[in-house]
Amino acid sequence: MAQEKAKGNGGKDVVIEVRDVVVGFGNHIVLDRVGLDVYRGEILGFVGGSGAGKSVLMRAIIGLLPKRAGAIKIFGTDMAAASDLERQAIERRWGILFQQGALFSSLTVRENLQFPVREYLDLSQDLLDELAIAKLDMVGLDASVCDKFPAELSGGMTKRVALARALALDPEIVFLDEPTSGLDPIGAGEFDSLIATLQRTLGLTVFMVTHDLDSLHTVCDRIAVLADGKIIAAGTMDTMLASTHPWLQAYFHGKRSRASHLEAGMPSPLPGRA
């Protein structure tokens, strides 16, 4: 735990440290010596072209994909060198929202939310039920969805329930894989502000893989860009907009980005956030 206090540049607490990570499938190298820091309490937007390997890096960080070289440290612990117990302790401190929700289809919403809690903590059924309702309320859902099965939920509700499950153990880091994909702009906007609110109330660190320029403008503190297997830029929105890199120019100044750029110029819907 003492290692946790390792400070990154600028005196900020580094919670995820990715160094020279190489991931490939067969002869195809997807990530080529990628390096990235994620600081405590920030919302990091992670962008890149489709198929650039964004989800691959996320899956490598959470240990679902093997890396060929490099080191990944989470809370200062090297995941490759960690014992099973240490790894489990760290896995308890993160929550993951998969792209398709990955809710357990044979369990109800309530059971889905209670599953990780029940496995890790010894709590009474009353408290489990109350907490499930509290988590659902936090993600803006009514208690009436409790007894529904995932197959009966709409796309937006699935995402919200999946977020609630990711938050079930009060993690410190939340990984979100394209949280707003498949949502209408209103739903996506609500989801963004939900993430921002939860980040503030729970003090989360959020690692968000996204394509949604509106999300990047409204909620992300920092943006990291993956292209050609490398992180080509990391910094605030202003840095991205000022960059002369052709890919960044195309991404942030393209036709589709203009509308959201204009909107971002207007008063932010979330006071206290740029």
């Binding site: 309702i133 009966e152 609110t197």
Partner: protein, 376 residues
């Protein structure tokens, strides 16, 4: 977990509670017990002051328990105050405060009523699946009629692919199992017939039993387990991922594209497998008769020629395509009945195998009555 999480001091009608340490998930179990014992505290209390000043970590679990504490005291009519809360946690407490309490799971009725209800539901669902099978048969006939008038619409490649899967690749396992069954029947027959000195009639028994009943039954049951389950799982996962809806919207009839080639492959494959299986069983029977019963292959063959007629052989082979049809229709109906969840895929696959084996045996019984009455 020896750290003190909650301390209580009562002064007259005032109760002072002092929280301390980490009110987080790890301590939630202990904290819940402490808080519930405070909630149950007797005596008259009119004022409760909860000092959160020494709580150095708070998460949703702790926040909810604090909320539970304040709610229950407020509900008892006490004046409840929370002091010393760190500014960082204010948002979390407010968030939890807005949660509407209590959504009780609906209670199910008495066990007797629900048992009777589930019996009724089962009967209705048996009726439904019978209806679905008749539906599927009808749809197959319609598609067949369409194919007869436009033969080029038949998915020949797909059918050959399925035939490879359910027929050709099943040959080794079918041969092995029917061979063993033939061996076992012959061995049992010899063992028991010897007591009457009727060893030679083993040949009659093996011949008739294998050709009329066992060959086709074993093959049908194997195919139901091997290919019927695969059909259900394939179609079920296609249904889950909306592939079947996609086909339909592109103007293809899933029955024509997916189901007909599969069922035709079974109807062609099962008789062939039945023939091969019967031969393997006879071979196994002959081998055991020779090695265990001392009946020479020449004698076995001569006896077999006398014992069986072409009718026995025909009875087995006539049944085969009908068995195939039953297995195929049940597998496809169950596959299309899969709903969104992984559990439902498992349930339907189990149902498919159980139902098709059951129906195969029922059909075999009906055929036995039929052939007996026409004297075959």
């Amino acid at each position: 977990m020896s750290d003190i999480l909650l301390e209580a001091t009562a002064q007259g009608e005032q109760l002072r509670l002092a929280g301390a340490g980490a009110w987080t998930a790890e301590n939630a179990h202990n904290l819940e017990a402490l808080i519930d014992s405070e909630i149950r505290r007797g005596g008259t209390i009119s004022q409760v002051v909860i000092d959160m000043g020494r709580v150095d970590r708070l998460d949703t679990f702790g926040a909810w328990l604090l909320e539970r504490l304040t709610r229950s005291f407020t509900a008892r009519g006490c004046d409840t105050k929370v002091t010393g809360l760190k500014e960082d946690y204010r948002a979390l407490i407010d968030e939890v405060h807005g949660v509407k309490r209590e959504h009780k799971a609906e209670h199910h009725g008495s066990t007797l009523a629900s048992t009777i209800a589930s019996v009724g539901e089962n009967i209705v669902s048996v009726g439904h699946s019978f209806g679905a099978m008749v539906n599927m048969l009808g749809a197959l006939v319609v598609v067949l009629a369409r194919i007869v008038s436009h033969p080029r619409r038949f998915r020949f490649t797909s059918m050959v692919h399925q035939l490879d899967n359910v027929g050709w690749r099943a040959v080794p396992i079918i041969l092995l199992i029917t061979f063993l069954i033939g061996c076992i029947i012959a061995q049992q027959g010899i063992f028991h017939f010897r007591k009457f000195g009727a060893d030679i009639y083993v040949v009659d028994m093996v011949g008739i039993l294998v050709l009329r009943e066992l060959g086709v039954l074993i093959v049908a049951i194997m195919v139901a387990g091997r290919s019927g389950s695969a059909y259900t799982a394939e179609l079920g996962s296609m249904k889950m991922r909306e592939e079947i809806d996609a086909l339909r919207t592109m103007g293809f009839d899933p029955i024509e594209v997916l189901i007909l080639p599969r069922i035709v492959a079974l109807v062609i494959g099962v008789p062939i497998l039945t023939f091969l299986g019967s031969m393997a069983a006879l071979y196994g029977g002959g081998l055991v008769c020779w090695l265990y019963g001392g009946i020479d292959p020449d004698i076995f063959l001569a006896r077999l020629k006398e014992a069986i007629t072409l009718d026995h052989f025909k009875v087995g082979l006539i049944k085969a395509p009908f068995m195939a049809l039953i297995v195929g229709v049940v597998a496809c109906v169950e596959g299309l009945a899969v709903k969104g969840s992984a559990e439902s895929l498992g349930l339907q696959t189990t149902a498919s195998v159980v139902e098709s084996i059951f129906l195969v045996i029922v059909l075999d019984g009906l055929f036995a009555i039929f052939f007996a009455s026409i004297g075959m």
